[in-house]
C-alpha cells in the first residue's frame, strides 16, 4: 500500500505530462474531443531553433564540465588523502561548506567575470563555473575513495620504483573507477540542470542549454496556453535524464550518499 502511494507520488506527475503531450490542445482545454496526436512533438522539433539544439548544447556543456572537474579533482583529492590528518581535516571542512553553498548567490560576480573576460555566449566557457561549483562534492567523494585504498599498495609500487604519475596511472586510478564514474554522473546531472548561471551567461537563443530554454518557453506565452507543447517539452527535456538514471542508478546513488556523508 505504502509502496503504491510512493510510486504514484513520484511517477504520477510525470505520467500526466506524458499524457498531456500526446493530446491535441483542444482536448486539453476541454473543448474538442480526445484522440492521440504527435503534433506537439512535431511543433517542438521543427521550432526555431529545433528543440534538439538545446539538448545537444546541454550534452556539450555537460561533457566538458565533467572532464574539467575530474581533471582538477583527481590530483586534489589524492593529495588531500595523503596529507597529515590535521591539515586534511581543516581543508575538508572548508570544501564541505562550499559543497552546501547555494550557487545562485554567486551569479552576479560570475556575470561580471563573463563580461570582463568575454566568456558570455561561449558554450564551453560555462564549464569553468560548473567545474568550480561541482568540485567540492567531487573532491569529497574522491578523497573518501582514495582513503579506502590500502596504503601498502602504493608503498609496494614505490619500492618497485614507480614515480607518482605511474602509481596514479597503473595502481590508483583503476581502483578509483567506480568513484570516478559516480562523480562524472553527478557533474553531468548538475550541469544539465543548472539554471541561474546559464541564464545570465547565455543570451543567444541557439546557444541556450535545456534549463534556460525551458524557462524561456514557459515565459514566452503567458496568456495563451499551449500546454500540449509545454508538456512535450518537459517530456523531451527529462527523457535523457530518466534514461541515465535507469541505466546508472547504482553509481548515482552511491556517489550522492558517499559524497554527502564522508564530507
Amino acid at each position: 500500500m505504502a509502496r503504491l502511494l510512493l510510486l504514484l507520488w513520484s511517477l504520477g506527475p510525470m505520467f500526466w505530462q506524458l499524457y498531456s503531450s500526446l493530446k491535441p490542445s483542444e482536448a486539453l482545454s476541454g473543448v474538442g474531443a480526445g484522440g492521440w496526436t504527435l503534433e506537439n512533438y512535431r511543433q517542438l522539433l521543427q521550432g526555431d531553433p529545433p528543440f534538439l539544439t538545446y539538448l545537444i548544447n546541454s550534452v556539450e556543456v555537460g561533457a566538458s564540465s565533467t572532464a574539467l572537474t575530474l581533471a582538477l579533482a583527481v590530483p586534489c583529492a589524492y593529495a588531500l588523502s595523503r596529507l597529515s590528518r590535521r591539515q586534511a581535516r581543516a581543508l575538508t571542512s572548508l570544501v564541505a561548506a562550499a559543497a552546501a553553498f547555494p550557487a545562485v548567490l554567486l551569479f552576479l560576480a560570475l556575470l561580471e567575470l563573463a563580461r570582463d573576460w568575454h566568456l558570455a555566449n561561449q558554450l564551453l566557457a560555462l564549464s569553468l563555473p560548473y567545474a568550480g561549483l561541482c568540485l567540492p562534492l567531487v573532491i569529497l567523494l574522491l578523497q573518501a575513495a582514495f582513503a579506502d585504498i590500502p596504503i601498502v599498495l602504493e608503498e609496494a609500487a614505490l619500492i618497485e620504483g614507480m614515480d607518482l604519475w605511474q602509481r596514479l596511472r597503473w595502481i590508483l586510478l583503476p581502483l578509483m573507477a567506480p568513484a570516478m564514474a559516480s562523480s562524472a554522473l553527478l557533474v553531468f546531472l548538475f550541469s544539465w540542470n543548472e539554471y541561474p548561471i546559464a541564464l545570465t551567461w547565455l543570451s543567444r537563443t541557439e546557444l541556450l542549454t535545456l534549463a534556460p530554454a525551458m524557462a524561456r518557453i514557459a515565459g514566452s506565452s503567458v496568456y495563451t496556453i499551449p500546454y500540449g507543447a509545454f508538456a512535450a517539452a518537459t517530456v523531451l527535456g527529462s527523457a535523457p535524464l530518466i534514461l541515465l538514471m535507469l541505466l546508472f542508478q547504482r553509481q548515482i546513488i552511491s556517489g550522492l550518499t558517499q559524497g554527502a556523508i564522508k564530507g
Binding site: M14, P102, L106, A109, L110, G132, T234, L256, T257, I261
Partner: protein
C-alpha cells in the same frame, strides 16, 4: 615530497577560491558602490548607503520572511516524508531496488522542467487537480492566483523534487545501523515506536543533521522553482531573496544594491545554519545530562 602534494591541490583550490571566495569579497566592495543606470553603469563610492537602503527596504524584509517561510515548510516536510520513505525502502520488500530508482527520478529532473510541469498541474481550470475537483462538483482551488495558496504550491513542488534526496541520504544512514540492535530490541519485545525512538533516531542523528543543513542552505537560495512556477507572484507573495537580487541586477540594472542583497541573503543563511547547529549541540548536551 610535501610541496608536490600542495602543487597537486593548487589548480583545484585556485578555481574554488575564484568561484566561491572572490565573488563574496567582490560583493563586499560592490555593496559600498552605486552602479546603476544613473551612474552610467560605472561604479561610484557611496559608503554605507546601500546597507541603509537594505535596512529600510520593506520588500527585502518581506522577501526574507517569505524565503524563511518557504524554507521552514519545505525542509520540515522533506525531512519527515524523507524519513518515512527511507524507513519504507529499508525494509526487505520485493522490488525494492526498482522502487528506489523510481522514487529518485524527481530529484534528477531539471528544476525548470519540473516547475513548468507543475504549472500545468496546478492550472485552473484545465489542470488535473481542477478537473478532478470539477468532476466531484467541488469548487476549483486557485493555486497560482491566491497568495495564501501559491506559496504552499511552491512548497509542494519543492518537496516533490527534493524529498528523494533526503530519503536516499537517510537510507544510507539506516543501512549503517547494525541489525543485531534490532534483534535485541525484538527480544526485549520493544514496540516499533520504541525501536524508532531509542535505536533508529539516535543512530541516524549525524545523517539527519547533514540532510537538514544541506537542504536548508539550498532552500534559502531558492530561485529556479519560484522564477518558473510563479515568477514571484501573485503580487510578489512568493518572491524569494535570490529572485529579488536577480531582478535588481538583470531588470533594474542596479548592481550595487543587488550585491548588497546577495550579501544580506548570505548573512541570513549563515545565521540560520549556525543557529540550527548550535541548537543541535545543546539538545545533545541536554540529552547527555539526562542519561
Amino acid at each position: 615530497m610535501r610541496w608536490r602534494l600542495w602543487l597537486l591541490m593548487a589548480p583545484a583550490f585556485a578555481l574554488l577560491l575564484s568561484i566561491f571566495a572572490a565573488p563574496l569579497l567582490h560583493y563586499l566592495w560592490l555593496s559600498t558602490q552605486v552602479q546603476s543606470v544613473l551612474t552610467g553603469l560605472k561604479p561610484q563610492p557611496i559608503g554605507a548607503q546601500q546597507w541603509l537602503r537594505l535596512w529600510n527596504d520593506g520588500r527585502f524584509w518581506q522577501d526574507s520572511w517569505q524565503t524563511l517561510r518557504f524554507s521552514a515548510a519545505s525542509v520540515s516536510l522533506e525531512m519527515v516524508l524523507g524519513l518515512a520513505v527511507a524507513l519504507l525502502l529499508n525494509q526487505p520488500l520485493r522490488g525494492r531496488g526498482l522502487l528506489r530508482t523510481f522514487s529518485l527520478l524527481p530529484w534528477a529532473l531539471p528544476t525548470t522542467v519540473m516547475a513548468l510541469g507543475w504549472r500545468w498541474i496546478f492550472n485552473d481550470p484545465y489542470g488535473p487537480i481542477s478537473r478532478m475537483l470539477a468532476g466531484l462538483e467541488l469548487p476549483a482551488i486557485p493555486f497560482l492566483s491566491n497568495p495564501a495558496l501559491t506559496w504552499m504550491a511552491t512548497v509542494g513542488a519543492d518537496t516533490w523534487k527534493t524529498m528523494p534526496f533526503v530519503a536516499l541520504l537517510l537510507l544510507a544512514g539506516l543501512q549503517t545501523i547494525p541489525t543485531d540492535l534490532y534483534e535485541a530490541a525484538a527480544l526485549e519485545e520493544a514496540t516499533q515506536w520504541q525501536t524508532l525512538r531509542r535505536i533508529t533516531l539516535p543512530l541516524l542523528t549525524p545523517y539527519l543533521l547533514i540532510a537538514l543543513l544541506f537542504r536548508l542552505a539550498q532552500a534559502v537560495g531558492v530561485f529556479d522553482l519560484i522564477q518558473v512556477l510563479t515568477g514571484g507572484g501573485p503580487a510578489g507573495s512568493t518572491e524569494s531573496l535570490a529572485l529579488y537580487a536577480y531582478l535588481n541586477a538583470m531588470r533594474f540594472l542596479d548592481f550595487g544594491y543587488s550585491a548588497t542583497l546577495l550579501l544580506g541573503s548570505f548573512a541570513i543563511l549563515l545565521i540560520l545554519c549556525s543557529t540550527v547547529a548550535l541548537m543541535w549541540r545543546w539538545s545533545l548536551r541536554w540529552q547527555g545530562g539526562l542519561r
